[in-house]
């Protein structure tokens, strides 16, 4: 559950946040929304795919963390065993809300980051933002700016008709099979068939790089299968 409230230095002057607990928000997540600026970091471990937002049906970028619903294969021994933590996790417990057409910073009062004895204050004693809060604001800004880049990249990919459904069927060591549905990726053949002007344009927009990062990152599915197989073998 989340309970978002606008943050202010009177009501929340005593709140402390333990950033190391943020990863608990991803314990049961198999697909996490990601933004273009973090693609190259993500690609070191996670497959980056395109899926549809459940509420709007719009295409969105996501990193795959598991092969089944609610499965995060990077979550082991109560910890996120990954080199890079997606911004969507790093940002916890802070969100951007809107009030009277203005963006305001919110905090999730139910977040496990708030119920720790090792937290850091978010406000200094004089009511000014602590270094921790300044850092959190920068992350939120990066996310917001990244979401704009997401929209532009999705627009480019769909208007050039570069999407194709990603169908993966995996058989695990215990003979059990799982199938991934509702995922999309770049159609290599269509990408290769683009005209010169289109390719140059993608390159100038800095989008060609993101597209190839996404394609390359798909290889990380083997990493996920390997993790899953190890998990399954341990149970055999």
């Amino acid at each position: 559950m989340t309970n978002l409230v606008a943050i202010d230095n009177k009501n929340h002057k005593d709140i402390t946040v333990d950033g190391s607990k943020a990863e608990m928000h991803g314990a049961n997540v198999n697909l996490i929304p990601v933004v273009v600026p973090e693609f190259s970091n993500l690609a070191t471990q996670y497959p980056i795919v395109i899926t549809k937002n459940g509420d709007t049906g719009q295409f969105v970028f996501a990193a795959m963390l598991g092969l089944e619903t609610n499965e995060n294969l990077f979550w082991q021994d109560e910890q996120w065993q990954g080199l890079y933590l997606p911004l969507q996790i790093q940002r916890q417990p802070f969100f951007v809300g809107e009030m009277n057409n203005e963006q305001i910073m919110c905090i999730d009062l139910e977040s496990p980051t708030l119920s720790s004895n090792d937290g850091v204050a978010i406000f200094n004693s004089d009511g000014s933002d602590s270094e921790y809060l300044q850092d959190a604001k920068e992350k939120l800004a990066l996310l917001l700016q990244g979401e704009l880049q997401n929209i532009e990249l999705i627009d480019a990919i769909t208007s050039l008709d570069l999407l194709q459904p990603l169908s993966v069927e995996i058989t695990l060591v215990n003979e059990q099979s799982c199938r991934l549905n509702g995922l999309y990726t770049i159609d290599n053949a269509k990408l290769a068939a683009l005209g010169d002007a289109q390719v140059v344009n993608l390159h100038r927009q800095g989008q060609l790089d993101s597209i190839y990062t996404m394609i390359t990152s798909l290889g990380q599915i083997y990493g996920l299968i390997d993790k899953k197989n190890k998990q399954v073998s341990a149970q055999l």
């Binding site: 549809k52 937002n53 509420d55 709007t56 049906g57 719009q58 769909t158 194709q164 459904p165 509702g182």
Partner: protein, 523 residues
């Protein structure tokens, strides 16, 4: 080649004219430049004659038609005030009591083709210790449950035209014609002439050589498509092809139509057509995005306009004086043939039947599709195509008449002469009587019909027959219940699918709001 078919002239706008123009233009590359141009398509629309604008319900075939035309589903839903239709709910048709209703859904019965589930369902009806009696439609199909909850057939995550449950549309016919017109002219290369046709000029062989217009002179063509509505300007007036009436079978000949506003912007939109039987006819109720379209169709021999209007007011729940109705009268029937020489009629110019199963637009689609697909390359082949077209569509009209009559003849309502006369064998076509004899001892099956592209499949007959309480008596053939395990599994599968659908589908209104805001993706 002698007299190749290079130009098709369509007389009349409206949904019949524009659907015909669009389907022919799309298939025959009307928009190509001179070298690649296939067939030139010209549509002449009278600026002074308004279209009738009925036909607010479609069949699932419309999804394919839109795909063939290249119209996006998002655009269609946004511009035509359209909503989703998942079949029809027939209220008060069986005995007229308050809780009397059944569904004719668009999803086939579970396991249809694998086994005869109807036989097993009938058996459970006679088995007194079986649990709560369940309607046939609920036992074999999950769509009734979806409709009763006002749910949509898909989610915003589905791509255009994709679905969980088979669906059609409710639409504003006027807005639909506008969208078709723009698409045909801008995207498909149809030439639009706004003018009145004042005369028909004949060729030596009796073909139509051209039609004379007020401001654009004579427009010549190789094939003329008559979409002039009830007037039937070319086929009826010029060629004198008679109307074959069927008012001895289907008594309804009048309609009073009104628009009913919703109480508020977020009022629920019914996900199906509601048809409620009345003393001398029935009332349709169709939910669009911005309003409901409601109308009373009735037999003027069995009631009068005042009574009909009162019944409509009672149904809507308003004072009769507050209703501004549009009155439409019609003759039920179809032309003796539809394609004569180089002229073929589509839509009301070909015929009309009461809108009980929304057969008007689907006949337009089927006609336009066959004309487009079979378009004779030259005049030599045209008479052959014409004969095949006539055979096909005479068969289809007859089957539709049978199917509509089925709804009336199965009723046990006794409240008026209208219903009693509807059960008089003299008013029931022999073909339907024969089918009823077959179905005394078994359920309708695909091979009961001879066409490989049947308008109403056996499944539809099953929904209506068993929805209306017909009993096929299997007591003489208990061996037909041998596949008991298969049937049990199919019933269980349907229960599972019903639960899944109820858990996952949004409301009809909710989905339409999201389409307006976000649109469907094309993949």
């Amino acid at each position: 080649m002698n007299n190749p078919t290079k130009t098709v002239v369509i007389v009349g706008g409206g949904s019949a004219g524009w659907l015909s123009a669009g389907l022919i233009a799309a298939k025959h590359n009307a928009k190509g430049t001179l070298a690649q141009q296939g067939v030139k398509v010209i549509l002449i629309e009278s600026p002074s004659i308004p279209s009738v604008g009925v036909g607010e319900g479609t069949w699932p075939t419309m999804r394919n038609t839109l795909i063939e035309l290249g119209i996006s589903e998002t655009e269609f839903i946004r511009e035509c005030d359209a909503s989703f239709k998942q079949g029809a709910k027939f209220a008060k048709w069986c005995d007229g009591s308050d809780d009397d209703f059944y569904y004719h859904p668009l999803v086939l019965p579970q396991g249809f083709g694998k086994g005869d589930l109807a036989a097993h369902w009938l058996a459970t009806q006679h088995n007194s210790d079986s649990q709560q009696p369940q309607s046939f439609s609920n036992a074999v199909c999950y769509q009734e449950a979806i409709c009763e909850q006002g749910l949509a057939p898909k989610t915003i995550r589905h791509s255009e035209f994709d679905a969980i449950a088979n669906y059609a549309y409710h639409l504003d016919a006027g807005k639909f014609a506008q969208l078709l017109k723009r698409h045909c002219v801008e995207k498909l290369g149809v030439t639009h002439i706004s003018d009145d046709v004042v005369a028909v000029n004949s060729d030596d062989n009796g073909d139509i050589a051209s039609v004379a217009t007020t401001n654009n002179g004579d427009i010549s063509g190789d094939l003329f498509v008559d979409c002039s509505g009830f007037k039937s300007l070319l086929l009826g007036e010029h060629f004198n092809i008679d109307l074959v009436k069927c008012d001895d079978v289907l008594f309804i000949d009048s309609a009073l139509a009104v628009h009913v506003p919703y109480q508020c912007d977020d009022s629920a939109i019914a996900s199906h057509t509601i048809s409620t039987a009345q003393q001398a006819g029935w009332i349709w109720d169709i939910g669009l995005q911005s309003r409901r379209g409601v109308g009373h169709v009735y037999s003027s021999r069995h009631t009068n306009d005042e009574e009909a209007k009162q019944a409509l007011a009672d149904y809507i729940g308003v004072e009769v004086d507050s209703l501004t109705c549009k009155k439409i009268t019609f003759e039920s029937g179809h032309r003796e043939k539809f394609w004569h020489k180089n002229c073929v009629a589509v839509g009301l110019a070909a015929g009309f039947l009461e809108p009980l199963e929304a057969s008007a637009l689907v006949l337009v689609e089927l006609s336009a599709q066959m004309i487009s697909e079979q378009l004779p390359a030259s005049r030599d082949a045209m008479d052959i195509v014409a004969k095949r077209f006539n055979d096909t569509f005479l068969y289809r009209w007859d089957r539709i008449i049978d199917f509509l009559k089925l709804h009336y003849m199965l009723s046990s309502r006794t409240d008026s002469a209208f219903w009693r006369e509807n059960r008089d064998p003299a008013t029931i076509p022999q073909s339907l009587q024969d089918l009823m004899t077959l179905w005394r001892h078994r359920a309708p099956a695909d091979l009961d019909f001879t066409s490989n592209n049947e308008v109403f499949p056996a499944a539809s007959y099953q929904y209506v027959l068993y929805g209306m309480g017909h009993q096929s008596d299997y007591s003489g053939s208990p061996h037909k219940l041998h596949d008991h395990d298969l049937a049990t599994a199919q019933f269980a599968q349907n229960r599972k699918l019903t639960q899944q659908a109820l858990n996952n589908l949004p409301s009809n209104r909710d989905l339409i709001d999201k389409i307006k805001q976000f649109g469907f993706s094309t993949m």
